[in-house]
């Protein structure tokens, strides 16, 4: 039987975090939610609370193209991050030996240089006349007009590059605790290492994959800087729209409404994804299972 002291432990553990999120996220979000129901404009007499539920459908109907585009860009970037990041995380976890931490640092070190500088560097590498682009041109890999910048490809490449650490770090955290003997046993059982991977390693590392996918897709969906600096006309994502609504049009109600819609959409996608990947992989309700 658990003592009352034991039953309080989870609350002590959760407490600081929940309180922090409550005061510094939930409350401001409440203000935002209230704002979504305002109408009016800054220049013509200010905003008023008018239960303006129409803000929600209005916000969405004007921008469905950007929503779909964001889903496509973020989704593609996430898949690419997984393809690039999983082998790298695997290699760091099992083949790097003493150099593990060093490699992990190398993975996030680009972040020290600030996003703007990294992106300018990429723009230099991918500029229309650069040798890299010339090679791509001869391989017929350039999308339109023979250029890489100011295309969807550039935005997706930027998203992939900037969110790789978000995929690699949770993957690594999960992979690292994998017991190699299980892998060896699997290799003994199955004739090819591919089956061993698919039937044993992959399912065991599902929690890491789920975490990585979430940490990559969710923020990528709402990103705006990549589209702004690397994209051209016709690559704007929903993040750019919200940015524009808030800062350039000062249409705070529509910005707030669109933000909430976006958050709801992402939550829906997350819930569906977790159903698909298995709830244990996400929540790990081990205590409910009783081992």
């Amino acid at each position: 039987m658990r003592s009352w002291k034991q039953r309080l432990v989870p609350y002590w553990l959760l407490g600081p975090g929940l309180l922090w999120l409550l005061f510094f996220f939930v409350v401001p979000m409440y203000f935002m939610g209230e704002l979504a129901l305002y109408s009016g404009s800054l220049t013509s007499g200010g905003f008023e609370f008018t239960w303006a539920w129409s803000n929600f459908p209005d916000a969405l109907s004007g921008h469905t193209e950007q929503v779909v585009r964001s889903f496509f860009y973020a989704g593609t970037a996430t898949v690419l991050c997984l393809l690039i990041g999983y082998p790298l995380a695997y290699a760091i976890a099992f083949r790097a030996g003493r150099y593990k931490t060093l490699l992990l640092f190398a993975v996030i070190a680009p972040f020290f240089t600030t996003y703007l500088i990294r992106t300018i560097a990429w723009k230099t590498i991918l500029s229309d006349d650069s040798p890299v682009v010339s090679v791509l041109q001869t391989l017929s890999l350039t999308p339109e007009g023979g250029r890489v910048l100011a295309t969807s490809g550039a935005v997706i490449a930027g998203l992939t590059y900037n969110f790789l650490p978000f995929m690699i770090l949770p993957l690594y955290a999960n992979l690292e605790r994998l017991d190699m003997r299980l892998i060896e046993a699997a290799k003994d059982l199955y004739s090819s290492s591919r089956s061993a991977f698919l039937k044993v390693t992959l399912p065991l590392t599902m929690p890491g994959i789920v975490a990585g996918v979430l940490l990559t897709f969710i923020p990528a969906f709402g990103d705006y800087v990549n589209a702004q600096l690397l994209g051209g006309t016709g690559q704007a994502m929903i993040g750019n729209v919200i940015q524009s609504l808030y800062l350039n049009q000062r249409n705070y109600p529509e910005a707030a409404a669109l933000s909430f819609l976006m958050m709801a959409l992402i939550l829906a996608i997350v819930i569906v994804y977790i159903r698909f990947a298995g709830t244990e992989a996400f929540m790990g309700d081990e205590d409910e299972e009783g081992a």
């Binding site: 939930v26 409440y30 800054l42 013509s44 007499g45 200010g46 051209g232 609504l245 049009q249």
Partner: protein
């Protein structure tokens, strides 16, 4: 297992209601504290008087001559006022966005002085976020201000804005690739498809397109603005326009990604392309300036006013212009630079003659701003 699932759901519900109640309580306490509105037409007048103490001054980066011999240091020496010079403005809109909640409450975040574009000064003034300054408190300013800047449309008596530096928006051309581009209409020529960029500013790009069509942006109707915006939209959709930029068109010019861009006259130092040159469009440019303004809640208006007078002394203004290379609002700077042997004195970009800018227009705000701005933003985020 069943009972624990049910009690878990019940507990979730209770917790959700609790959280909602707390936030509702906190939120209701804040009800009515929404955005916008202004303070009902009552404008504060900035107090003059003895200038002392500390001055917090927000400005755009690279907009003043820096260092131990710079203007700020000189000002501190001569007046004993300590200046906290912060370069935290890099976009009118985002600066407004981050200051608006404070200005709405009558606070300025400690700043007594900052520099924003004409239209932003106008907008802030209309919302009651700026203080007005007595003409008598600004003797040096009114003595030396360029006649063309004395009475702009948005502030005919210069009650709340004092020009800082100005510039022109025109066309940057890569003369090795497209030497024949002279008009904004040339940018729509299909042979430059995908090699042209335009600025993302509402009051500059559509205005230039209107000028090229023979429409006067200062007098244009909302429909004429929307027509210009439509024309730009078609060009964007077809891929004629590569992208809309802030000042990062300079990167594209340096890298050779584009042959022409709508851009600002003073950006030469950012473009490492010997063939790039700024051209005055044949139909005219957009001539703009940025202004020093005193916000509501400014802690030290006397010091701010003293600074405004200080930088309107021709010697001081000459120092600033020599470094910044934009257009000075102060009369008498050109002879000083000539005496110093500076080649800037000959530059038409830094000292444009009236003849040079005869077709230029200012930064005009379109009628029915919300609707026109929304149409423009939809083109940018299309």
């Amino acid at each position: 297992m069943l009972s624990s699932a049910r009690s878990d759901r019940r507990a979730t519900a209770i917790l959700a209601v609790l959280i909602a109640a707390v936030t509702l309580a906190l939120g209701l306490a804040a009800c009515g504290g929404g955005a916008g509105g202004g303070n009902g037409g009552e404008t504060t007048v900035a107090e003059g008087g003895k200038a002392e103490g500390e001055l917090v001054f927000s400005n755009w980066p690279g907009y003043i001559d820096p260092g131990k011999n710079g203007t700020i240091a000189e000002f501190e020496d001569k007046t004993g006022i300590k200046v906290d010079y912060i370069e935290d403005i890099n976009s009118n809109d985002s600066f407004f966005g981050k200051l608006q909640p404070q200005l709405e409450q009558g606070q300025s975040g400690g700043r007594s002085l900052f520099v924003v574009a004409d239209y932003m000064a106008e907008q802030m003034h209309d919302l009651g976020y700026l203080q007005e300054i007595e003409k008598d408190d600004l003797p040096t300013v009114f003595e030396n201000i360029l006649p063309s800047l004395k009475s702009p449309e948005f502030d005919p008596e210069r009650k709340f804005s004092v020009p800082w530096q100005g510039g022109m928006t025109g066309i940057w051309v890569d003369t090795s690739k497209a030497p024949e581009i002279k008009s904004v209409n040339d940018l729509f020529d299909p042979k430059y498809k995908g090699k042209v960029t335009m600025l993302d500013e509402l009051r500059e790009t559509p205005a230039l397109v209107m000028l090229a069509e023979g429409v006067d942006p200062a007098k244009a109707s909302a429909d004429e603005w929307l027509a210009a915006i439509d024309k730009i939209k078609s060009a964007a959709d077809s891929g004629q326009i590569r992208r809309f930029t802030g000042n990062d068109y300079t990167e594209d010019l340096t890298a050779g990604n584009i042959v022409a861009a709508i851009g600002w006259s003073g950006d030469a130092s950012l473009i490492e392309n010997p063939n790039a040159e700024w051209r005055m469009p044949t139909e005219g440019c957009v001539r703009w300036s940025e202004n020093m303004v005193i916000p509501v809640g400014a802690p030290n208006t006397a010091a701010a006013i003293a600074f405004m007078n200080f930088v309107y002394r021709p010697e001081v203004a000459a120092d600033i212009t020599e470094w910044v290379e934009y257009i000075s609002p102060v009369d008498g700077v050109k002879p000083i630079l000539e005496k110093n042997g500076s080649e800037l004195a000959e530059s038409e970009i830094v000292f444009p003659s009236d003849e040079f800018t005869r077709n230029c227009t200012g930064q005009n705000t379109p009628p029915e701003l919300d609707q026109v701005n929304e149409a423009w933003q939809n083109v940018l985020t299309g």
